[in-house]
Amino acid sequence: MKFILSLFSIIFLFVNISSQDNPESFPFVDSSKITIAPPTSVIAEDFKYDNAEKLSITWIPSIDDQIGDNNKVKGYKIYRITDGGQPELIAEILPGSNNYLDEGLEENIWYSYFVSSISDNFEARSNTTESVTPKREWLNFDLKFLFLIALIISSSVIYYIRHASKGKKLFVRKIAGLEAVDDAIGRATEMGRPILFIPGIHDMDDVQTLAAITILGNVARQIADYDTKIRMPVSRSLVMTAARETIKAAYQTAGRPDAYSDDMVNYITDEQFGYVAAVDGIMVREKPATIFLLGAFFAESLILAETGNSIGAIQIAGTARPAQLPFFIAACDFTLIGEELFAASAYLSGEPKMLGSLKGQDIGKGIAMAAIVVGVLSATFGEIWDVQFLLDIKQYLLQFFTVR
Protein backbone atom coordinates (compact mmCIF):
# COMPACT_ATOMS: atom_id res chain seq x y z
CA MET A 1 0.00 0.00 0.00
CA LYS A 2 2.75 2.36 1.06
CA PHE A 3 4.67 1.44 -2.04
CA ILE A 4 1.70 2.22 -4.37
CA LEU A 5 1.11 5.52 -2.56
CA SER A 6 4.77 6.49 -3.00
CA LEU A 7 4.70 5.50 -6.67
CA PHE A 8 1.67 7.68 -7.35
CA SER A 9 3.25 10.56 -5.39
CA ILE A 10 6.36 10.35 -7.48
CA ILE A 11 4.31 10.29 -10.70
CA PHE A 12 2.19 13.26 -9.52
CA LEU A 13 5.29 15.20 -8.45
CA PHE A 14 6.86 14.61 -11.85
CA VAL A 15 3.78 15.84 -13.71
CA ASN A 16 3.52 18.93 -11.43
CA ILE A 17 7.13 19.92 -12.00
CA SER A 18 6.80 19.66 -15.79
CA SER A 19 3.56 21.67 -15.82
CA GLN A 20 5.19 24.56 -13.81
CA ASP A 21 7.61 25.26 -16.68
CA ASN A 22 4.64 26.42 -18.71
CA PRO A 23 1.73 27.77 -16.65
CA GLU A 24 -0.51 27.93 -19.71
CA SER A 25 -0.15 24.29 -20.65
CA PHE A 26 -2.23 21.43 -19.44
CA PRO A 27 -0.76 18.50 -17.51
CA PHE A 28 -1.18 16.38 -20.63
CA VAL A 29 0.86 18.50 -23.18
CA ASP A 30 -0.53 18.86 -26.74
CA SER A 31 2.46 17.84 -28.83
CA SER A 32 1.23 19.78 -31.94
CA LYS A 33 1.86 23.16 -30.18
CA ILE A 34 5.34 24.68 -30.52
CA THR A 35 5.85 25.59 -26.86
CA ILE A 36 8.31 28.35 -26.05
CA ALA A 37 9.50 30.08 -22.92
CA PRO A 38 8.11 33.49 -22.02
CA PRO A 39 10.25 36.63 -21.76
CA THR A 40 11.48 37.39 -18.28
CA SER A 41 12.42 40.36 -16.11
CA VAL A 42 9.81 42.60 -17.71
CA ILE A 43 10.19 46.11 -16.34
CA ALA A 44 8.07 49.18 -17.08
CA GLU A 45 9.49 52.54 -16.15
CA ASP A 46 9.03 56.19 -16.88
CA PHE A 47 10.74 57.43 -20.07
CA LYS A 48 12.88 60.30 -18.99
CA TYR A 49 12.63 63.90 -20.18
CA ASP A 50 9.40 63.58 -22.11
CA ASN A 51 6.06 65.35 -21.76
CA ALA A 52 4.69 62.77 -19.25
CA GLU A 53 3.33 60.61 -22.06
CA LYS A 54 5.81 57.78 -22.55
CA LEU A 55 6.73 54.61 -20.68
CA SER A 56 9.60 52.35 -21.52
CA ILE A 57 9.14 48.57 -21.33
CA THR A 58 12.19 46.31 -21.30
CA TRP A 59 12.56 42.56 -20.92
CA ILE A 60 14.97 39.68 -21.35
CA PRO A 61 13.99 37.84 -24.53
CA SER A 62 12.70 34.28 -24.36
CA ILE A 63 15.45 31.66 -24.11
CA ASP A 64 13.95 30.10 -27.25
CA ASP A 65 14.56 33.31 -29.22
CA GLN A 66 17.56 32.37 -31.33
CA ILE A 67 19.04 33.92 -34.45
CA GLY A 68 18.44 31.95 -37.62
CA ASP A 69 15.71 30.40 -39.73
CA ASN A 70 14.84 27.82 -37.07
CA ASN A 71 13.85 30.43 -34.50
CA LYS A 72 10.74 29.16 -32.76
CA VAL A 73 9.88 32.64 -31.51
CA LYS A 74 8.07 34.65 -34.21
CA GLY A 75 7.75 37.82 -32.20
CA TYR A 76 6.48 39.48 -29.06
CA LYS A 77 3.10 40.88 -28.12
CA ILE A 78 2.92 43.74 -25.68
CA TYR A 79 -0.18 44.16 -23.53
CA ARG A 80 -1.14 47.16 -21.45
CA ILE A 81 -3.50 47.25 -18.47
CA THR A 82 -4.86 50.74 -17.79
CA ASP A 83 -5.89 51.49 -14.21
CA GLY A 84 -6.49 47.83 -13.41
CA GLY A 85 -8.76 47.28 -16.39
CA GLN A 86 -8.63 44.65 -19.13
CA PRO A 87 -5.39 43.86 -20.97
CA GLU A 88 -5.15 45.56 -24.33
CA LEU A 89 -2.80 44.44 -27.09
CA ILE A 90 -0.79 47.54 -28.05
CA ALA A 91 2.00 46.21 -30.22
CA GLU A 92 3.45 43.21 -31.98
CA ILE A 93 7.18 43.37 -32.58
CA LEU A 94 9.84 41.31 -34.20
CA PRO A 95 11.86 38.53 -32.50
CA GLY A 96 15.13 39.62 -30.99
CA SER A 97 13.54 42.75 -29.52
CA ASN A 98 14.00 43.56 -25.88
CA ASN A 99 12.37 46.96 -25.51
CA TYR A 100 9.34 48.98 -26.50
CA LEU A 101 8.36 52.63 -26.03
CA ASP A 102 4.68 53.14 -25.31
CA GLU A 103 3.65 56.68 -26.34
CA GLY A 104 0.58 58.86 -26.16
CA LEU A 105 -0.13 58.02 -22.52
CA GLU A 106 -1.67 60.27 -19.92
CA GLU A 107 -0.30 61.65 -16.70
CA ASN A 108 -1.69 60.33 -13.38
CA ILE A 109 -3.06 57.20 -15.04
CA TRP A 110 -1.47 53.96 -13.85
CA TYR A 111 -0.32 51.42 -16.38
CA SER A 112 1.04 47.90 -16.07
CA TYR A 113 2.30 45.62 -18.79
CA PHE A 114 3.06 42.04 -19.67
CA VAL A 115 4.87 40.69 -22.70
CA SER A 116 4.15 37.45 -24.50
CA SER A 117 6.50 35.56 -26.75
CA ILE A 118 4.68 33.98 -29.68
CA SER A 119 5.38 31.00 -31.85
CA ASP A 120 3.30 29.81 -34.81
CA ASN A 121 0.56 28.49 -32.52
CA PHE A 122 1.55 29.27 -28.96
CA GLU A 123 1.76 32.28 -26.71
CA ALA A 124 3.83 32.38 -23.52
CA ARG A 125 2.99 35.20 -21.17
CA SER A 126 5.39 36.90 -18.78
CA ASN A 127 4.62 38.19 -15.31
CA THR A 128 2.80 41.51 -15.09
CA THR A 129 4.88 44.51 -14.13
CA GLU A 130 4.14 46.84 -11.27
CA SER A 131 1.86 49.77 -12.08
CA VAL A 132 3.66 52.88 -13.18
CA THR A 133 2.59 56.34 -14.33
CA PRO A 134 4.37 58.72 -16.75
CA LYS A 135 6.13 61.58 -14.99
CA ARG A 136 7.41 64.95 -16.06
CA GLU A 137 10.90 65.88 -14.92
CA TRP A 138 11.89 69.38 -13.92
CA LEU A 139 15.21 69.29 -15.71
CA ASN A 140 16.45 67.45 -18.77
CA PHE A 141 19.94 66.32 -17.85
CA ASP A 142 20.53 65.02 -21.36
CA LEU A 143 21.00 68.64 -22.33
CA LYS A 144 23.57 69.44 -19.64
CA PHE A 145 26.31 70.13 -22.17
CA LEU A 146 24.04 72.45 -24.14
CA PHE A 147 23.40 74.31 -20.90
CA LEU A 148 27.14 74.43 -20.19
CA ILE A 149 27.98 75.92 -23.59
CA ALA A 150 25.13 78.43 -23.30
CA LEU A 151 26.34 79.33 -19.80
CA ILE A 152 29.94 79.86 -20.95
CA ILE A 153 28.94 82.04 -23.88
CA SER A 154 26.32 84.01 -21.93
CA SER A 155 28.76 84.54 -19.04
CA SER A 156 31.46 85.83 -21.36
CA VAL A 157 28.95 88.19 -22.99
CA ILE A 158 27.94 89.55 -19.58
CA TYR A 159 31.56 89.79 -18.49
CA TYR A 160 32.59 91.80 -21.54
CA ILE A 161 29.54 94.04 -21.30
CA ARG A 162 30.53 94.91 -17.74
CA HIS A 163 34.12 95.32 -18.86
CA ALA A 164 33.04 97.79 -21.58
CA SER A 165 30.63 99.60 -19.23
CA LYS A 166 33.55 100.43 -16.96
CA GLY A 167 35.03 102.38 -19.84
CA LYS A 168 37.68 99.85 -20.83
CA LYS A 169 38.39 99.66 -24.55
CA LEU A 170 37.45 96.51 -26.40
CA PHE A 171 39.30 95.84 -29.64
CA VAL A 172 37.20 95.21 -32.73
CA ARG A 173 39.01 94.74 -36.02
CA LYS A 174 38.49 97.13 -38.93
CA ILE A 175 35.39 96.39 -40.98
CA ALA A 176 35.60 97.16 -44.67
CA GLY A 177 32.56 99.05 -45.85
CA LEU A 178 32.20 101.16 -42.71
CA GLU A 179 34.68 103.73 -43.99
CA ALA A 180 32.45 104.09 -47.05
CA VAL A 181 29.46 105.25 -44.96
CA ASP A 182 30.85 108.76 -44.43
CA ASP A 183 31.81 109.10 -48.11
CA ALA A 184 28.39 107.90 -49.19
CA ILE A 185 26.59 110.44 -47.02
CA GLY A 186 28.93 113.17 -48.28
CA ARG A 187 28.17 112.22 -51.86
CA ALA A 188 24.44 112.54 -51.32
CA THR A 189 24.92 115.93 -49.65
CA GLU A 190 27.04 117.26 -52.53
CA MET A 191 24.65 116.02 -55.18
CA GLY A 192 21.65 117.41 -53.31
CA ARG A 193 19.88 114.09 -53.65
CA PRO A 194 18.28 112.11 -50.85
CA ILE A 195 19.59 109.08 -49.01
CA LEU A 196 17.36 106.01 -49.15
CA PHE A 197 17.53 103.79 -46.07
CA ILE A 198 15.88 100.37 -46.28
CA PRO A 199 15.92 98.42 -42.97
CA GLY A 200 14.85 95.10 -44.40
CA ILE A 201 11.39 93.56 -44.30
CA HIS A 202 11.39 91.99 -40.87
CA ASP A 203 9.95 93.35 -37.68
CA MET A 204 11.67 94.69 -34.58
CA ASP A 205 11.98 91.18 -33.12
CA ASP A 206 14.72 90.41 -35.65
CA VAL A 207 18.25 91.31 -34.49
CA GLN A 208 19.14 92.36 -38.04
CA THR A 209 16.48 95.05 -37.94
CA LEU A 210 17.77 96.19 -34.55
CA ALA A 211 21.29 96.40 -35.97
CA ALA A 212 19.98 98.37 -38.97
CA ILE A 213 18.18 100.83 -36.67
CA THR A 214 21.39 101.28 -34.65
CA ILE A 215 23.34 102.12 -37.81
CA LEU A 216 20.46 104.42 -38.81
CA GLY A 217 21.09 106.33 -35.58
CA ASN A 218 24.69 106.99 -36.63
CA VAL A 219 23.69 107.86 -40.21
CA ALA A 220 20.89 110.12 -38.99
CA ARG A 221 23.33 112.11 -36.79
CA GLN A 222 25.48 112.89 -39.85
CA ILE A 223 22.44 113.66 -41.98
CA ALA A 224 21.14 116.06 -39.35
CA ASP A 225 24.52 117.85 -39.32
CA TYR A 226 24.74 118.10 -43.12
CA ASP A 227 21.04 118.77 -43.67
CA THR A 228 20.79 115.91 -46.16
CA LYS A 229 17.38 114.53 -47.02
CA ILE A 230 16.56 110.99 -45.94
CA ARG A 231 13.80 108.78 -47.20
CA MET A 232 12.93 105.57 -45.33
CA PRO A 233 10.10 103.39 -46.59
CA VAL A 234 9.38 100.51 -44.18
CA SER A 235 7.25 97.38 -44.28
CA ARG A 236 6.47 97.04 -40.56
CA SER A 237 4.62 99.54 -38.41
CA LEU A 238 6.82 98.92 -35.35
CA VAL A 239 9.92 99.59 -37.41
CA MET A 240 8.35 102.83 -38.59
CA THR A 241 7.82 104.08 -35.04
CA ALA A 242 11.31 102.97 -33.90
CA ALA A 243 12.94 104.61 -36.94
CA ARG A 244 11.03 107.86 -36.41
CA GLU A 245 12.17 107.98 -32.80
CA THR A 246 15.77 107.32 -33.83
CA ILE A 247 15.88 110.02 -36.50
CA LYS A 248 14.01 112.50 -34.30
CA ALA A 249 16.52 111.94 -31.49
CA ALA A 250 19.39 112.47 -33.96
CA TYR A 251 17.95 115.79 -35.13
CA GLN A 252 17.41 116.91 -31.56
CA THR A 253 21.00 116.03 -30.68
CA ALA A 254 22.19 118.05 -33.69
CA GLY A 255 20.15 121.00 -32.40
CA ARG A 256 17.79 120.98 -35.38
CA PRO A 257 14.48 119.56 -34.16
CA ASP A 258 12.54 121.75 -36.56
CA ALA A 259 14.18 120.07 -39.57
CA TYR A 260 12.74 116.68 -38.61
CA SER A 261 9.53 115.49 -40.23
CA ASP A 262 7.54 112.28 -39.73
CA ASP A 263 7.30 112.01 -43.54
CA MET A 264 10.96 110.93 -43.61
CA VAL A 265 9.79 107.48 -42.54
CA ASN A 266 6.62 106.04 -43.99
CA TYR A 267 4.89 102.67 -43.89
CA ILE A 268 4.21 101.00 -47.24
CA THR A 269 2.80 97.50 -46.78
CA ASP A 270 3.59 94.24 -44.99
CA GLU A 271 3.42 92.30 -48.25
CA GLN A 272 6.88 91.52 -49.55
CA PHE A 273 6.58 92.25 -53.26
CA GLY A 274 4.14 95.09 -52.77
CA TYR A 275 6.82 96.75 -50.67
CA VAL A 276 9.45 96.05 -53.31
CA ALA A 277 7.32 97.47 -56.11
CA ALA A 278 6.80 100.67 -54.12
CA VAL A 279 10.49 101.04 -53.18
CA ASP A 280 11.53 100.44 -56.79
CA GLY A 281 9.18 103.19 -57.82
CA ILE A 282 10.70 105.53 -55.21
CA MET A 283 14.21 104.72 -56.45
CA VAL A 284 13.39 105.37 -60.07
CA ARG A 285 11.41 108.54 -59.41
CA GLU A 286 13.46 110.21 -56.68
CA LYS A 287 16.90 108.91 -57.77
CA PRO A 288 18.67 108.83 -54.39
CA ALA A 289 22.44 109.25 -54.45
CA THR A 290 23.04 106.73 -51.67
CA ILE A 291 21.13 103.64 -50.74
CA PHE A 292 21.54 101.71 -47.52
CA LEU A 293 20.18 98.16 -47.63
CA LEU A 294 20.69 96.94 -44.08
CA GLY A 295 18.66 94.28 -42.30
CA ALA A 296 16.75 91.12 -43.11
CA PHE A 297 15.98 90.61 -46.78
CA PHE A 298 14.48 87.81 -48.80
CA ALA A 299 13.66 87.44 -52.47
CA GLU A 300 13.40 91.19 -52.96
CA SER A 301 17.10 91.77 -52.30
CA LEU A 302 18.23 91.39 -55.91
CA ILE A 303 15.35 93.48 -57.23
CA LEU A 304 16.20 96.31 -54.87
CA ALA A 305 19.98 96.09 -55.40
CA GLU A 306 19.67 95.89 -59.19
CA THR A 307 17.28 98.82 -59.40
CA GLY A 308 19.58 100.86 -57.15
CA ASN A 309 22.52 99.92 -59.37
CA SER A 310 20.65 100.92 -62.50
CA ILE A 311 20.03 104.47 -61.22
CA GLY A 312 23.72 104.93 -60.41
CA ALA A 313 23.38 105.20 -56.64
CA ILE A 314 26.19 104.15 -54.30
CA GLN A 315 24.91 101.18 -52.35
CA ILE A 316 26.00 99.89 -48.96
CA ALA A 317 24.33 96.64 -48.03
CA GLY A 318 24.44 94.32 -45.08
CA THR A 319 22.42 91.27 -44.10
CA ALA A 320 22.89 88.11 -42.09
CA ARG A 321 20.82 86.06 -44.50
CA PRO A 322 23.31 83.97 -46.49
CA ALA A 323 20.92 83.50 -49.43
CA GLN A 324 20.81 87.22 -50.16
CA LEU A 325 24.49 88.02 -49.73
CA PRO A 326 25.50 86.95 -53.26
CA PHE A 327 23.18 89.55 -54.76
CA PHE A 328 24.37 92.34 -52.56
CA ILE A 329 27.99 91.43 -53.26
CA ALA A 330 27.31 91.42 -57.02
CA ALA A 331 25.16 94.56 -57.22
CA CYS A 332 26.28 96.77 -54.34
CA ASP A 333 29.45 98.77 -53.82
CA PHE A 334 30.07 97.61 -50.25
CA THR A 335 28.63 94.66 -48.40
CA LEU A 336 28.68 93.79 -44.72
CA ILE A 337 28.71 90.01 -44.71
CA GLY A 338 26.67 88.25 -42.07
CA GLU A 339 27.94 89.09 -38.62
CA GLU A 340 29.80 92.13 -39.90
CA LEU A 341 26.42 93.88 -39.85
CA PHE A 342 26.19 93.38 -36.09
CA ALA A 343 29.86 94.24 -35.65
CA ALA A 344 29.30 97.42 -37.64
CA SER A 345 26.35 98.44 -35.46
CA ALA A 346 28.44 97.74 -32.35
CA TYR A 347 31.43 99.62 -33.77
CA LEU A 348 29.43 102.68 -34.82
CA SER A 349 27.28 102.93 -31.72
CA GLY A 350 30.18 102.21 -29.33
CA GLU A 351 27.56 100.94 -26.95
CA PRO A 352 29.05 98.68 -24.23
CA LYS A 353 26.23 96.15 -24.57
CA MET A 354 26.85 95.64 -28.27
CA LEU A 355 30.64 95.59 -28.02
CA GLY A 356 30.48 93.22 -25.06
CA SER A 357 28.12 90.91 -26.96
CA LEU A 358 30.49 90.83 -29.89
CA LYS A 359 33.45 89.87 -27.72
CA GLY A 360 31.41 87.27 -25.85
CA GLN A 361 30.40 85.68 -29.14
CA ASP A 362 34.05 85.52 -30.11
CA ILE A 363 34.57 83.28 -27.08
CA GLY A 364 31.91 80.96 -28.49
CA LYS A 365 33.64 80.94 -31.85
CA GLY A 366 36.92 80.18 -30.14
CA ILE A 367 35.36 77.17 -28.42
CA ALA A 368 33.93 75.97 -31.74
CA MET A 369 37.27 76.34 -33.52
CA ALA A 370 39.12 74.53 -30.74
CA ALA A 371 36.58 71.69 -30.65
CA ILE A 372 36.68 71.26 -34.41
CA VAL A 373 40.48 71.19 -34.60
CA VAL A 374 40.87 68.82 -31.65
CA GLY A 375 38.03 66.62 -32.88
CA VAL A 376 39.20 66.37 -36.48
CA LEU A 377 42.85 65.74 -35.54
CA SER A 378 41.85 63.12 -32.96
CA ALA A 379 39.53 61.42 -35.43
CA THR A 380 42.09 61.48 -38.23
CA PHE A 381 45.16 60.33 -36.34
CA GLY A 382 43.12 57.95 -34.23
CA GLU A 383 41.91 56.24 -37.43
CA ILE A 384 45.30 56.25 -39.16
CA TRP A 385 47.36 54.99 -36.21
CA ASP A 386 44.51 53.15 -34.48
CA VAL A 387 45.13 54.95 -31.19
CA GLN A 388 42.23 54.25 -28.83
CA PHE A 389 42.93 57.32 -26.67
CA LEU A 390 42.48 59.65 -29.63
CA LEU A 391 39.34 57.83 -30.75
CA ASP A 392 37.98 58.20 -27.21
CA ILE A 393 38.60 61.96 -27.37
CA LYS A 394 36.70 62.12 -30.65
CA GLN A 395 33.84 60.07 -29.18
CA TYR A 396 33.70 62.25 -26.09
CA LEU A 397 33.53 65.41 -28.20
CA LEU A 398 30.76 63.92 -30.35
CA GLN A 399 28.78 63.06 -27.22
CA PHE A 400 29.46 66.50 -25.75
CA PHE A 401 27.89 68.19 -28.76
CA THR A 402 24.89 65.87 -29.01
CA VAL A 403 21.51 67.43 -28.28
CA ARG A 404 19.17 64.53 -29.11
Partner: protein, 211 residues
Protein backbone atom coordinates in the same frame (compact mmCIF):
# COMPACT_ATOMS: atom_id res chain seq x y z
CA UNK B 1 -16.00 85.55 -64.80
CA UNK B 2 -13.11 83.24 -65.53
CA UNK B 3 -12.28 85.24 -68.68
CA UNK B 4 -12.33 88.48 -66.69
CA UNK B 5 -10.06 87.02 -64.00
CA UNK B 6 -7.60 85.75 -66.62
CA UNK B 7 -7.43 89.12 -68.34
CA UNK B 8 -6.98 91.00 -65.08
CA UNK B 9 -4.18 88.61 -64.02
CA UNK B 10 -2.51 88.92 -67.44
CA UNK B 11 -2.89 92.73 -67.42
CA UNK B 12 -1.24 92.99 -64.00
CA UNK B 13 1.53 90.51 -64.93
CA UNK B 14 2.40 92.39 -68.11
CA UNK B 15 2.19 95.69 -66.25
CA UNK B 16 4.89 94.63 -63.81
CA UNK B 17 7.02 93.11 -66.62
CA UNK B 18 6.76 96.39 -68.56
CA UNK B 19 9.06 97.92 -65.93
CA UNK B 20 11.90 96.06 -67.66
CA UNK B 21 11.45 98.40 -70.59
CA UNK B 22 11.04 101.56 -68.53
CA UNK B 23 8.95 103.12 -65.79
CA UNK B 24 5.51 103.86 -67.23
CA UNK B 25 1.93 104.59 -66.14
CA UNK B 26 0.90 100.95 -66.68
CA UNK B 27 3.56 99.83 -64.15
CA UNK B 28 2.56 102.60 -61.72
CA UNK B 29 -1.10 101.56 -61.82
CA UNK B 30 -0.17 97.88 -61.30
CA UNK B 31 2.19 98.78 -58.48
CA UNK B 32 -0.48 100.86 -56.76
CA UNK B 33 -3.05 98.06 -57.10
CA UNK B 34 -0.57 95.54 -55.72
CA UNK B 35 0.44 97.70 -52.77
CA UNK B 36 -3.15 98.53 -51.93
CA UNK B 37 -4.48 94.98 -52.21
CA UNK B 38 -1.58 93.50 -50.25
CA UNK B 39 -2.03 96.03 -47.42
CA UNK B 40 -5.75 95.33 -47.35
CA UNK B 41 -5.18 91.56 -47.51
CA UNK B 42 -2.87 91.63 -44.50
CA UNK B 43 -5.33 93.75 -42.52
CA UNK B 44 -8.02 91.16 -43.18
CA UNK B 45 -5.78 88.17 -42.43
CA UNK B 46 -4.38 89.71 -39.27
CA UNK B 47 -7.86 90.65 -38.06
CA UNK B 48 -9.67 87.37 -38.80
CA UNK B 49 -6.86 84.92 -38.12
CA UNK B 50 -5.04 86.73 -35.36
CA UNK B 51 -7.40 88.97 -33.43
CA UNK B 52 -10.71 87.22 -34.05
CA UNK B 53 -9.51 83.65 -34.65
CA UNK B 54 -7.06 83.48 -31.77
CA UNK B 55 -8.09 86.06 -29.22
CA UNK B 56 -11.85 86.62 -29.56
CA UNK B 57 -12.83 83.01 -30.15
CA UNK B 58 -10.42 81.48 -27.66
CA UNK B 59 -10.54 84.00 -24.80
CA UNK B 60 -13.22 82.20 -22.79
CA UNK B 61 -11.27 78.93 -22.79
CA UNK B 62 -7.82 80.29 -22.15
CA UNK B 63 -7.48 83.13 -19.66
CA UNK B 64 -3.84 83.70 -20.67
CA UNK B 65 -5.16 85.27 -23.87
CA UNK B 66 -6.35 88.23 -21.78
CA UNK B 67 -2.72 88.89 -20.84
CA UNK B 68 -1.81 88.84 -24.53
CA UNK B 69 -4.75 91.09 -25.32
CA UNK B 70 -3.68 93.55 -22.65
CA UNK B 71 -0.13 93.64 -24.03
CA UNK B 72 -1.56 94.27 -27.48
CA UNK B 73 -3.64 97.14 -26.11
CA UNK B 74 -0.58 98.63 -24.41
CA UNK B 75 1.18 98.54 -27.76
CA UNK B 76 -1.45 100.92 -29.10
CA UNK B 77 -0.50 103.49 -26.44
CA UNK B 78 2.17 104.55 -28.90
CA UNK B 79 -0.53 106.54 -30.65
CA UNK B 80 -0.87 108.84 -27.61
CA UNK B 81 2.44 110.75 -27.33
CA UNK B 82 2.11 111.50 -23.59
CA UNK B 83 1.85 107.82 -22.62
CA UNK B 84 3.68 106.38 -25.61
CA UNK B 85 6.44 105.09 -23.31
CA UNK B 86 4.03 102.34 -22.12
CA UNK B 87 4.31 100.60 -25.49
CA UNK B 88 7.96 99.79 -24.75
CA UNK B 89 6.87 97.13 -22.25
CA UNK B 90 5.04 94.83 -24.67
CA UNK B 91 7.81 95.45 -27.19
CA UNK B 92 10.36 94.36 -24.59
CA UNK B 93 8.26 91.27 -23.95
CA UNK B 94 8.23 90.36 -27.64
CA UNK B 95 11.95 90.93 -28.11
CA UNK B 96 12.82 89.11 -24.89
CA UNK B 97 10.54 86.12 -25.45
CA UNK B 98 11.61 85.52 -29.02
CA UNK B 99 15.28 86.03 -28.16
CA UNK B 100 15.03 83.49 -25.35
CA UNK B 101 13.26 80.95 -27.51
CA UNK B 102 15.55 81.42 -30.48
CA UNK B 103 18.74 81.44 -28.40
CA UNK B 104 18.40 77.83 -27.28
CA UNK B 105 17.11 76.67 -30.67
CA UNK B 106 20.09 78.21 -32.43
CA UNK B 107 22.56 76.97 -29.82
CA UNK B 108 21.27 73.45 -30.27
CA UNK B 109 20.66 73.24 -34.01
CA UNK B 110 23.14 75.70 -35.47
CA UNK B 111 26.07 75.36 -33.07
CA UNK B 112 26.09 72.05 -31.22
CA UNK B 113 24.83 69.78 -33.97
CA UNK B 114 26.89 71.54 -36.64
CA UNK B 115 30.12 71.22 -34.62
CA UNK B 116 29.25 67.57 -34.16
CA UNK B 117 28.79 67.24 -37.91
CA UNK B 118 32.14 68.90 -38.60
CA UNK B 119 34.16 66.50 -36.42
CA UNK B 120 35.00 64.03 -39.18
CA UNK B 121 38.18 62.08 -39.89
CA UNK B 122 40.14 63.37 -42.87
CA UNK B 123 41.19 59.84 -43.63
CA UNK B 124 39.83 56.49 -42.59
CA UNK B 125 40.13 52.89 -43.66
CA UNK B 126 36.33 52.76 -43.43
CA UNK B 127 35.70 55.21 -46.26
CA UNK B 128 34.78 52.49 -48.72
CA UNK B 129 36.16 50.03 -51.18
CA UNK B 130 38.51 51.18 -53.87
CA UNK B 131 40.41 54.39 -54.50
CA UNK B 132 37.52 56.44 -55.89
CA UNK B 133 35.15 55.88 -53.00
CA UNK B 134 37.86 56.79 -50.52
CA UNK B 135 39.13 59.92 -52.26
CA UNK B 136 35.76 61.59 -52.67
CA UNK B 137 35.11 61.26 -48.93
CA UNK B 138 38.61 62.50 -48.07
CA UNK B 139 38.22 65.58 -50.25
CA UNK B 140 34.70 66.20 -48.97
CA UNK B 141 35.79 66.00 -45.33
CA UNK B 142 38.80 68.23 -46.03
CA UNK B 143 36.57 70.87 -47.60
CA UNK B 144 34.15 70.73 -44.66
CA UNK B 145 36.95 71.07 -42.11
CA UNK B 146 38.98 73.81 -43.81
CA UNK B 147 35.92 75.73 -44.95
CA UNK B 148 34.27 75.74 -41.52
CA UNK B 149 37.45 76.55 -39.64
CA UNK B 150 38.67 79.37 -41.89
CA UNK B 151 35.14 80.77 -42.08
CA UNK B 152 35.14 81.03 -38.29
CA UNK B 153 38.59 82.66 -38.47
CA UNK B 154 37.24 85.32 -40.85
CA UNK B 155 34.36 86.18 -38.52
CA UNK B 156 36.56 86.38 -35.41
CA UNK B 157 36.47 90.11 -34.62
CA UNK B 158 38.94 90.19 -31.73
CA UNK B 159 42.04 89.83 -33.87
CA UNK B 160 43.28 91.87 -36.79
CA UNK B 161 43.69 89.95 -40.06
CA UNK B 162 47.49 89.96 -40.22
CA UNK B 163 50.21 87.37 -40.79
CA UNK B 164 49.26 83.68 -40.68
CA UNK B 165 45.93 84.59 -39.18
CA UNK B 166 45.30 86.92 -42.12
CA UNK B 167 46.08 84.10 -44.54
CA UNK B 168 43.52 81.94 -42.74
CA UNK B 169 40.95 84.72 -42.98
CA UNK B 170 41.71 85.11 -46.69
CA UNK B 171 41.15 81.39 -47.27
CA UNK B 172 37.93 81.77 -45.33
CA UNK B 173 36.68 84.57 -47.55
CA UNK B 174 37.48 82.45 -50.63
CA UNK B 175 35.32 79.66 -49.25
CA UNK B 176 32.59 82.20 -48.48
CA UNK B 177 32.69 83.61 -51.99
CA UNK B 178 32.55 80.13 -53.53
CA UNK B 179 29.56 79.39 -51.31
CA UNK B 180 27.92 82.65 -52.32
CA UNK B 181 28.52 81.77 -55.96
CA UNK B 182 26.81 78.41 -55.49
CA UNK B 183 23.96 80.11 -53.61
CA UNK B 184 23.75 82.71 -56.41
CA UNK B 185 23.43 79.94 -58.97
CA UNK B 186 20.71 78.27 -56.93
CA UNK B 187 18.89 81.56 -56.60
CA UNK B 188 19.11 82.26 -60.33
CA UNK B 189 17.37 78.92 -60.76
CA UNK B 190 14.73 80.03 -58.28
CA UNK B 191 14.09 83.33 -60.07
CA UNK B 192 13.96 81.62 -63.44
CA UNK B 193 11.40 79.21 -61.97
CA UNK B 194 9.17 82.12 -61.06
CA UNK B 195 9.55 83.62 -64.53
CA UNK B 196 8.79 80.24 -66.12
CA UNK B 197 5.67 79.98 -63.98
CA UNK B 198 4.47 83.40 -65.10
CA UNK B 199 5.20 82.75 -68.78
CA UNK B 200 3.45 79.38 -68.51
CA UNK B 201 0.43 81.28 -67.23
CA UNK B 202 0.58 83.86 -70.02
CA UNK B 203 1.15 81.46 -72.91
CA UNK B 204 -0.70 78.49 -71.42
CA UNK B 205 -3.61 79.48 -69.22
CA UNK B 206 -4.25 82.89 -70.83
CA UNK B 207 -3.52 82.44 -74.54
CA UNK B 208 -3.81 78.65 -74.73
CA UNK B 209 -0.71 78.38 -76.91
CA UNK B 210 0.96 75.63 -74.89
CA UNK B 211 -0.38 72.51 -73.27
Amino acid sequence: MEHFALWVAAFLTLGIISFLYKDNPWYKVTEAIFVGISAGYWVVVLFWDNFYGKFWVGKDNDSMLYVGGLLGLLMLMRLIPKIGWISRWPLAFIVGATSGLWMMNYFASNIMVQIQGTIVPLFSANFGEGMNAGYSTVIGNLVIFIGTFTGLVYFFFSKEHKGVYGVGARVGIFFLMITFGAAFGYTVMSRMSLLIGRLDFLFGDWLGMIK
